[in-house]
């Protein structure tokens, strides 16, 4: 936990002067995540997308530390190579053994839920010591608001058009955080730009862990969500308060939920957004009802995972099994591999 004063004293890692839209949620997410690194050097990477094109218009860069981008679907794979180089060069004695760098890869939901999912899965399985951050704005915003695997049910996008025959996106969004959690990595969490303290705390926790970690951050795109430019944080806040975006973490397979005690109806999240305008036309109440049902069902699912985690821990205790095996972690990080230079 940190206070705003402490955070304000940390180095700025994303300089102003980039061309992200005013009020962009992704930019806020990046700044908050990188505050979590404290003063340790950070090398960042990004998938192709708004964040990448808008912060690296040659010959300018907004990245105060090292930055790399290769292609849309390969933010995780590219960063895995950077991290592997860090290990290999240290082992070769070409980099001091005590040198500290945090590695953070950013991808939008298109670059993470969809095209980059395979590369992310591989990098998580291989145990690279890096944090992957998905800034989830629920569509391919860089190419002009096309639907992705993260676009909410019934939302309008330019490829889930609203017309007489189709009421927006016909499919529910993918549960990416659960998919990532199924890799049994040390840490995965959902956060929101509206809950800055929670986000920075989770980012710090993730970066302090040796091994792959993941944050899925709700980062509204005012342009794509059809809200005024000063509303990104407010909308994200409503996303959390309506349970559209539950805040939780999965640490060594143990799920913990930040319980939302004053749950608001989903209409509070939907109504301010132009992309859901059609839901509020008379006769479309069933769409809102279905949206609400899905939100409640998903929240119940997360609660069940939290309950299940208690059972899981109990079973481990009964069997005398550790939650984390230090030996396996050391093997994964390579520190226990027999090596002769």
């Amino acid at each position: 936990m940190a206070n705003i004063k402490q955070l304000s004293e940390l180095p700025q890692r994303l300089s102003p002067g980039h061309s992200m839209c005013g009020g962009c949620g992704a930019t806020i997410a990046v700044r908050q995540v990188l505050m979590g690194a404290g003063k340790t050097p950070v090398v960042c990477g990004a998938a192709t997308g708004c964040l990448e094109v808008s912060t690296t218009t040659f010959p300018f860069t907004s990245w105060e530390g090292g930055f790399i981008h290769s292609t849309f679907e390969s933010a995780a794979a590219t960063m895995s190579g950077v991290e592997a180089a860090f290990r290999g060069l240290k082992r070769a004695g070409k980099i001091p053994a005590d040198k500290q760098i945090k590695f953070v890869a950013f991808g939008g939901d298109g670059g993470t839920y969809d095209i980059g999912l395979q590369a992310l899965s591989g990098a998580l399985e291989r145990g690279h010591d890096f944090l992957y951050v998905c800034y989830d704005n629920g569509a391919y915003m860089n190419t002009g608001i096309q639907r992705s695997g993260a676009t909410p049910y019934s939302a309008w996008t330019t490829t889930s058009e609203v017309g007489n025959a189709v009421p927006g996106k016909r499919h529910f969004e993918k549960d990416l955080t659960s998919i990532v959690a199924a890799h049994h990595i040390p840490y995965a969490a959902q956060a929101s730009i509206s809950n800055w303290n929670d986000l920075v705390t989770k980012a710090t926790k993730a970066m302090d862990i040796d091994g792959p970690t993941f944050l899925n951050v709700l980062a509204p795109c005012p342009r794509g969500w059809r809200v005024p430019f000063d509303q990104a944080v407010k909308i994200a806040d409503l996303g959390v308060k309506t349970n559209y975006w539950p805040l939780y973490e999965v640490e060594n397979d143990v799920w913990k939920l930040t319980e939302n005690r004053k749950k608001l109806p989903i209409e509070d999240f939907l109504q301010p957004q132009g992309r859901f305008r059609h839901l509020f036309k008379p006769g479309n109440e069933h769409l809102i009802k279905e949206f609400q049902t899905n939100v409640d069902r998903h929240y119940a699912y997360i609660q069940a995972r939290v309950e299940g985690s208690k059972v899981y821990q109990q079973k481990l205790e009964e069997a005398g099994l550790p939650l984390v095996s230090d030996d396996a972690l050391a093997m994964q990080s390579g520190s226990k591999l027999p090596f002769q230079q």
């Binding site: 050097p41 090398v43 990477g45 990448e52 094109v53 690296t56 218009t57 040659f58 010959p59 860069t61 990245w63 105060e64 530390g65 090292g66 930055f67 790399i68 981008h69 290769s70 292609t71 679907e73 390969s74 794979a77 590219t78 960063m79 895995s80 190579g81 950077v82 991290e83 592997a84 180089a85 860090f86 290990r87 290999g88 060069l89 082992r91 070769a92 070409k94 980099i95 040198k99 760098i101 395979q118 590369a119 899965s121 591989g122 990098a123 399985e125 291989r126 390579g334 027999p338 090596f339 002769q340 230079q341």
Partner: protein, 397 residues
């Protein structure tokens, strides 16, 4: 003093040995036939602790090249290997590696592309990537695959070049068949290859760099491409100088364009890769009975050795180009196109005929090559009579 071990080695095995001796910092790789022996052999070196390499067994070739890009940008000597669909899958990353001027060394076991699926040797994969900005070597045999791989580090990492290099060997014929090979001692190779000292590194957090930036309209895209072209031009003399240096150590001659009989040959075959030996054998037999035939084999395809090829073909009266990759719908195969352009630039008006051969590993017999030399006898008249097709298939049913 250089010490040589003579062994029966496959091309893949010799590439793995070359990788071991260069001791890369990072090797991200995904298995694909006929490249797998390289991965398997190298992982044994890792398991035995004979290299300090961080071995990254990625989940796809696309990620193999992505990780190679990340590692190379981080200042690591980076190698990988692939073939066929794997090379096709990492396609967009090939351009990124070259555009970012990363000296990655990659071995490609040349193999046909689907469909139909076929695991055998041809040049469809690597020649499809000919415009990606990679330097490309074509090995004739396992020994050349070894030599090319060692030389590749020197060329790629040269400060005036800084381009990725693909060293290629024909699937199965070269990748798997055992041949007599000479393995140089580790110390001599280490001295020859040297250590990679990058000018910039992503891990230099005191002097941060951004890699893979956005160069949109008016923002240096063309200038970047021009810089790549200039680096390719600078690469040729460096390829030759490095080749001479290795020649002095190994005793094996190095030429970007290998010639046989061209000093007086009237009929010449232009070829690349493992079929060179067969062409040479047929030419030798024909020359013994007084026929003026010759063979030209390109060991380096990118940068294209225009001057050397033009010189080699100067006296030819009829030329056959043997293409082992289709350009369906094109006037001729990729090698024919390059050779034709080269001849045109040199003002050489000798007739040229394009042959498509060995696709998907189809047999390349001595008879097939003999037929081509025979065809060349009447090429000028046949062309005038209009009986020569744009591309002549050989060795098919």
């Amino acid at each position: 003093m250089a010490e040589v071990t003579v062994l029966a080695g496959s091309g893949d095995q010799m590439v793995a040995e070359a990788f071991r001796q260069a001791n890369p910092d990072v090797l991200p790789v995904y298995p694909i036939t006929p490249q797998t022996i390289i991965v398997e052999e190298f992982d044994k070196f890792v398991a035995e602790g004979r290299v300090h390499t961080e071995f990254v067994p990625v989940e796809s070739e696309h990620s193999a090249m992505a990780a190679a890009i990340g590692a190379s940008a981080a200042g690591a000597r980076t190698v990988t290997a692939t073939a066929s669909q794997g090379l096709a899958y990492m396609w967009e990353q090939l351009y990124v590696a070259a555009g970012m001027r990363l000296p990655i060394v990659m071995a490609n076991a040349n193999r046909a592309l689907s469909a139909p699926i076929n695991i055998h040797g041809d040049h469809s994969d690597i020649l499809g990537a000919r415009d990606s900005g990679w330097i490309m070597y074509f090995a004739e045999n396992a020994q050349e695959a070894y030599d090319d791989t060692l030389m590749a580090f020197r060329v790629a990492e040269h400060p005036d070049v800084m381009l990725p290099v693909a060293t290629t060997l024909d699937g199965f014929i070269t990748s798997h068949a055992l041949e007599r090979c000479e393995l140089m001692d580790d110390e001599t190779v280490a001295k020859f290859v040297g250590e990679y000292k990058p000018e910039h590194s992503l891990l230099d957090t005191d002097n941060p760099n951004s890699y893979g930036m956005f160069a949109n309209l008016g923002n240096f895209y063309m200038e970047t491409k021009l810089a790549q072209r200039k680096a390719m031009e600078k690469a040729m003399p460096i390829i030759k100088a490095v080749g001479e240096e290795w020649e002095a150590i190994s005793g094996r001659p190095f030429d970007v364009v290998k010639t046989f009989g061209t000093e007086d040959a009237e009929r010449v075959i232009v070829v690349m890769g493992s079929s060179t030996g067969n062409c040479r054998a047929v030419a030798k037999a024909l020359r013994e009975v007084g026929e003026k035939v010759g063979v030209v084999s390109l060991r380096v395809f990118r940068p294209f050795p225009t001057e050397e090829l033009a010189a080699a073909l100067k006296g030819a009266k009829a030329i056959a180009v043997m293409d082992r990759a289709e350009t369906v719908g094109g006037e001729g195969g990729p090698l024919w196109q390059e050779v034709s352009a080269c001849l045109h630039s040199a003002g050489n008006t000798a007739p040229v005929r394009d042959y498509m051969y060995g696709l998907g590993g189809a047999d390349v017999t001595l008879e097939l090559i003999n037929d081509i030399f025979n065809d060349l006898k009447t090429l000028e008249a046949d062309k005038a009579a209009g009986t020569v097709p744009a591309v002549t298939y050989k060795g098919n049913r």
